[in-house]
């Protein structure tokens, strides 16, 4: 088959809702886009462990600490599922980590914001994980098989993440005035960055048309963002949290909530490495990676020794 024919077969398979599997022919651009997207997704899971890990030693009770530890461990697992999915496309783990360290690869800018108070952990679990889930539920239907399957596994684990976060917020909102103020302050700081997690408006999104045609993406940024807002308002009301947007109100005609303008300048600043903690996040990742080198070295030596023993036997 020539290139055009291969491409036709590929598109027909995608149109028929069949999954693309690792050994199938696929357009170069499809492979590149997915490697970029899946590895960025993996980096986000792993870098996301840092802002939450920041509170592990200071969680207010032993129970909260155990819960947070389990949650952060899950995120490390999500990173691994996703790195393996990316590896099926022929990129190695080492290359991906290298790209992260050399700043050729990005991760979700939301993790460049600091976690200043305990209630930030509640706000992250509730809002950041909820937003991630809306996106990931949609990606369960993405056209690349290994990515779709990783999403199914991840979504199963995510629901506890958002609930433990919401539970932290609910508990604080039933507490003292200071606790309520602390919870509200976290939402005030995280609300807009969370809305930016869904990416630019559809009208400004450069790759969307092609990604929709290849079914890498199944729903547009704006649709996903709207879905998240619609479901979150009720949850906020139920515990007395005010979402910091004066334009947020129900639109009977649209059947959705209207909301205010997003400050994309802020988004661009945080995406180009200007976010408050970006240097810290990468420096920490590099440092831990370097500090683990002796373990990898020991494994290499052990493996070589075992191999030469086997050969001698």
């Amino acid at each position: 088959m020539d290139q055009a024919e291969e491409e036709k077969v590929f598109q027909e398979r995608v149109d028929a809702e069949e999954k693309i599997e690792p050994k199938d022919w696929m357009p170069d651009k499809y492979r590149k886009t997915l490697i970029r997207q899946i590895s960025q997704h993996a980096h986000s899971e792993v870098i996301g462990m840092q802002p939450e890990g920041n509170w592990l030693t200071r969680a207010p009770t032993l129970h909260r600490k155990a819960v947070l530890l389990a949650k952060v461990q899950d995120e490390g697992g999500h990173g691994l599922y996703l790195y393996s999915a990316a590896e099926t496309m022929g990129v190695s783990r080492e290359e991906m980590i290298d790209d992260l360290h050399e700043e050729r690869a990005k991760y979700a800018s939301i993790f460049n914001y600091p976690t200043l108070t305990w209630s930030d952990i509640g706000a992250i679990g509730w809002l950041v994980d909820s937003a991630a889930i809306v996106n990931q539920i949609s990606l369960q239907r993405t056209s690349y098989g290994p990515y779709a399957r990783a999403m199914v596994r991840i979504c199963k684990e995510e629901s506890f993440h958002q609930r433990q976060g919401y539970n932290i917020m609910m508990t604080l909102m039933r507490g003292s005035d200071e606790q309520k103020a602390m919870a509200q302050d976290s939402v005030d700081r995280f609300w807009w960055p969370v809305l930016m997690m869904f990416g630019p408006h559809d009208s400004d999104s450069v790759h969307s048309a092609q990604n929709m045609k290849w079914k890498i993406k199944r729903q547009s940024n704006d649709d996903l963002r709207q879905k998240f807002i619609d479901q979150t308002v009720e949850q906020a009301n139920a515990i007395g949290i005010t979402l910091p947007d004066p334009d947020l109100k129900w639109n009977e005609e649209r059947g959705h909530y209207d909301f205010g303008e997003i400050d994309w300048e802020e988004f661009r600043r945080s995406m180009s490495g200007g976010g408050p903690c970006s240097r810290l996040r990468l420096a920490h990742h590099r440092q831990v990676h370097e500090e683990g080198e002796w373990v990898r070295e020991a494994m290499r030596v052990y493996e070589n020794k075992k191999r030469s023993n086997q050969e001698a036997a």
């Binding site: 050994k23 022919w25 697992g77 691994l80 599922y81 393996s84 999915a85 980590i97």
Partner: protein, 94 residues
């Protein structure tokens, strides 16, 4: 950086009586370590009662596209399917 560990495919039996099912892959130094990693990565919520770890390089895989003849018999031997045989109306189960 160089890759020093091997890739393992992980299969998990979620419950007695069911088949092992492929769940993903991971890097490990040897089979024993692959099992330990698989336990941490894929079975944090008792998703499995048994884990298989198989070196990815040991798997021989057929390709849908380049061996159609592999599966052809399914189409030209319909007598292999029970639905190929008509039963008299009076027979309710066979």
């Amino acid at each position: 950086m160089t890759s020093h560990t091997q890739l393992y495919e992980i299969f998990i039996r979620s419950q007695r009586g069911l088949d092992h099912k492929h769940v993903g892959s991971l890097h490990a130094d040897d089979a024993e370590q692959a099992l330990q990693y698989a336990r941490d990565v894929y079975t944090r919520r008792s998703e499995g009662v048994s884990i298989w770890a198989v070196k990815s390089s040991d798997i021989a895989a057929s390709q849908e596209s380049d061996c159609g003849s592999f599966y052809d018999p399914l189409d030209d031997k319909p007598y292999r399917h029970a639905s190929h045989y008509d039963l008299p109306d009076e027979v309710k189960s066979l």
